[in-house]
């Protein structure tokens, strides 16, 4: 039994059987469903199937919900239709739903941990690639497509090939103003957007031990941007204390019983990985992306790369294409890139600590550009308001919105105009992600706030020094 990784232990405890080709049938503890689940529910309907374990699925409205109000009359018919399908599908199958007007509404990957639904040792799935987020609490959590969602609904199981395992160690400690987002962009820019494809990641090392649970959620969230389907961190005392007393976590004796098991889940000292990567935390500076893939990231102190310096012809072509789309010139200083808007939101970086970090920079300052702030959940929004953060944002000239996926994906209509350039706390700088022709620069919430104050991409560190000196 020794020599097992965190991943092995969860996989083994959930493996029902294997088929002749060696694929495993896994038991699924928790399934989260958002509006996009309509394709999967339609598949069930086509085949006349029911939901096998409705109590193990939780519906949450996030992708299409409006952020200006909480009224379905304020959204166009097609959007309303998608939200209403989530309501009718969950109701028809007896699946619990956190609807748009519920005080616990928010982005699935923010709400799961916040309610204590996410727990160490669970297998969790959702029809959304950022399900990797939940691995931060030591769950094996990954995104799936609509056919797989239909399979989970019908059977509460899933066929999976066991991935290889990669450990990313971040040694040492992070410098001030460097965050989990910067760790993620740093490793993805080094390994590539498909660098971890086919691997389950475990993050380890002293810098990871030091991260708060919320920061770990950010880091695991971005695992998919490096191609890994899941990213995980062994549960420790911080994890256990985070979960204690959350509404959907086990209670009383059950909690003690569960946490005894959670403490055994950490990777054994002599377990081996298929691949190991190490980074020194002190080498990581605040990062920004300049291109149209999360791998096109670099420290804010750098310059836009010159494709002529690239020796791989494919890479050079990719860089040229990215520069053209982003409207940038080779070798220009990153801090010379002027922005039109900012967005702070998404399952990556819209938890309370993220909003505090942005507010610390914006306090008493004005944003030079318009922008939106959409808290990761309605509870986070309430918390931020209790702390007066909303007023800091509003005083800075920014819009304080309701919670949802909002401008991370623009499905609800919160979009950039073509050609607009946005400093964004989200996870994907893909072409058109924030609206047709949109130009996205990914960075941490504090770095977004710094860009807002400067009107161009900017290093947050000097701004924070000014704050501490004043």
């Amino acid at each position: 039994m020794s020599r097992q990784t965190l991943f092995d232990k969860i996989w083994q405890s959930h493996e029902i059987c294997q088929n002749d080709e060696g694929q495993s049938l896994l038991w699924v503890d928790r399934h989260l469903a958002h509006e996009g689940s309509f394709h999967a529910f339609n598949k069930l309907a086509e085949r006349g199937l029911t939901v096998r374990h409705p109590e193990l699925t939780l519906g949450i409205a996030d992708h299409y919900v409006p952020t200006l109000s909480r009224s379905l009359t304020d959204v166009n018919e097609k959007t309303r239709n998608v939200i209403e399908q989530l309501i009718s599908n969950t109701r028809a199958h007896g699946v619990p739903l956190i609807g748009m007007n519920d005080p616990r509404q928010g982005i699935v990957h923010v709400v799961g941990p916040e309610l204590g639904l996410t727990q160490p040792g669970l297998v969790m799935v959702c029809g959304d690639s950022h399900t990797s987020t939940h691995g931060a609490l030591g769950a094996l959590a990954f995104g799936i497509g609509a056919s797989e969602v239909a399979h989970v609904l019908a059977t509460q199981t899933l066929w999976q090939n066991k991935p290889k395992q990669l450990r990313i160690r971040i040694n040492g400690s992070l410098s001030p103003a460097v965050s989990a987002k910067d760790i993620a962009l740093a490793w993805i820019s080094r390994l590539g957007a498909d660098g971890a494809r086919g691997y389950a990641i475990e993050y380890a090392g002293s810098a990871i031990d030091d991260l708060s649970v919320e920061a770990r959620l950010t880091l695991c969230n971005l695992s998919i941007e490096g191609g890994a389907r899941c990213g995980m961190i062994a549960p420790d005392e911080k994890t256990i204390e985070y979960l204690r007393d959350r509404p959907m976590a086990p209670k009383g004796e059950d909690f003690e019983f569960a946490s005894t098991w959670w403490r055994t889940l950490a990777t054994d000292a002599d377990a081996s990985f298929d691949r190991e990567v190490e980074l020194d935390a002190s080498d990581i500076a605040p990062q920004v992306t300049w291109g149209t893939s999360p791998e096109e990231a670099m420290p804010i102190t750098g310059r836009v790369p010159n494709p002529d310096d690239e020796h791989s012809p494919d890479k050079a072509r990719q860089h040229r294409d990215s520069l053209e789309y982003m409207g940038l010139k080779p070798d220009q200083l990153l801090t010379d890139i002027v922005i039109n808007r900012i967005f702070i939101g998404s399952c990556t970086n819209a938890r309370i600590e993220d909003l505090r970090a942005a507010a610390a920079v914006l306090k008493g300052r004005k944003s030079k550009v318009p922008g939106l702030i959409s808290a990761g959940s309605t509870q986070v929004k309430a918390q931020a308001e209790a702390e007066g953060l909303d007023q800091i944002f509003i005083d800075a000239g920014l819009e304080w919105r309701e919670s949802g996926c909002s401008m991370c994906v623009g499905m609800n209509g919160d979009q950039l105009k073509s050609g607009e350039r946005c400093a964004s706390s989200t996870n994907r700088n893909f072409k058109g992600r924030q609206g047709l022709g949109s130009r996205t620069h990914l960075m941490s919430p504090a770095m977004v706030a710094a860009a807002a104050v400067a009107g161009h991409l900017a290093d947050v560190r000097p701004l924070l020094q000014e704050v501490s000196q004043s």
Binding site: N19, W27, I98, D194, M248, D254, D314, S418
Partner: protein, 215 residues
């Protein structure tokens, strides 16, 4: 699902890397029901200019492109969002196979679940194939049993996970297969529920809280 055995069809080169699923189908089209046909949305923003006019020299807008059933492209195809709609767009357009040096993980399983073959080739072979296609629109043959691609007078091998190969060759669907494992699931659950009782649904009260949801 229709089994995939051997396919001879015109191939279409998409000479780009990192074609993510947001590009394969922009999010704004995903509100549509599948019955409208998702082929019209495939690579929409690459196919059309800002005013919605088709861009003439984009590969999918060229004469005969609508006949092609095989796409050849560069690394990291289908990365990003788990949206199966990206596969629906390819399949509804008429594609049955995509050849690339690497694919997004979730994209590949979505593809197989819709009878679309994600064929993995080396970077060098992708280049050879793309070069051959650049000179003239060509019929190529993809043979799943032998895992070979035949074009001009060349043969290149491709990789595919063994389970996926079996599924594609037989046109199998997972839900049907899993029904055969019902008793294995039940006996697994007996042990699992005793060992990890708190994993079975929400603690007392939490579900009530949720059930009183604000729809």
């Amino acid at each position: 699902m229709t089994p995939f055995t051997q396919l001879t069809a015109p191939a279409c080169p998409l000479v780009r890397s990192n074609v993510d699923t947001d590009q394969l189908i922009p999010a704004r089209f995903m509100k549509e029901p599948r019955r409208v046909g998702y082929g019209q949305f495939l690579l929409y923003d690459l196919r059309h200019d800002d005013t919605g006019k088709p861009i003439g020299d984009f590969i999918l807008n060229q004469p005969g492109a609508d006949q092609s059933q095989i796409m050849v492209t560069r690394r990291n195809f289908g990365a990003g969002s788990s949206r199966e709609a990206a596969v629906y767009a390819l399949v509804d357009f008429g594609f049955r196979c995509v050849i690339a040096p690497s694919f997004g993980d979730i994209f590949s399983s979505n593809a197989v679940n819709n009878g679309l073959l994600p064929a993995l080739v080396s970077e060098a072979d992708a280049d050879r194939l793309l070069n051959a296609l650049e000179t003239e629109p060509t019929h190529i043959t993809v043979d799943l049993a032998t895992q070979q691609i035949h074009f001009a007078d060349q043969i290149i091998p491709f990789d595919i996970n063994a389970v996926w190969k079996t599924k594609l060759l037989n046109g199998w669907d997972d839900i049907d297969l899993t029904e055969g494992y019902r008793s294995a699931i039940d006996s697994f659950l007996l042990t699992y529920q005793t060992r990890y009782p708190w994993t079975q649904g929400q603690p007392e009260g939490a579900l009530g809280l949720i059930a009183r949801d604000n729809r």
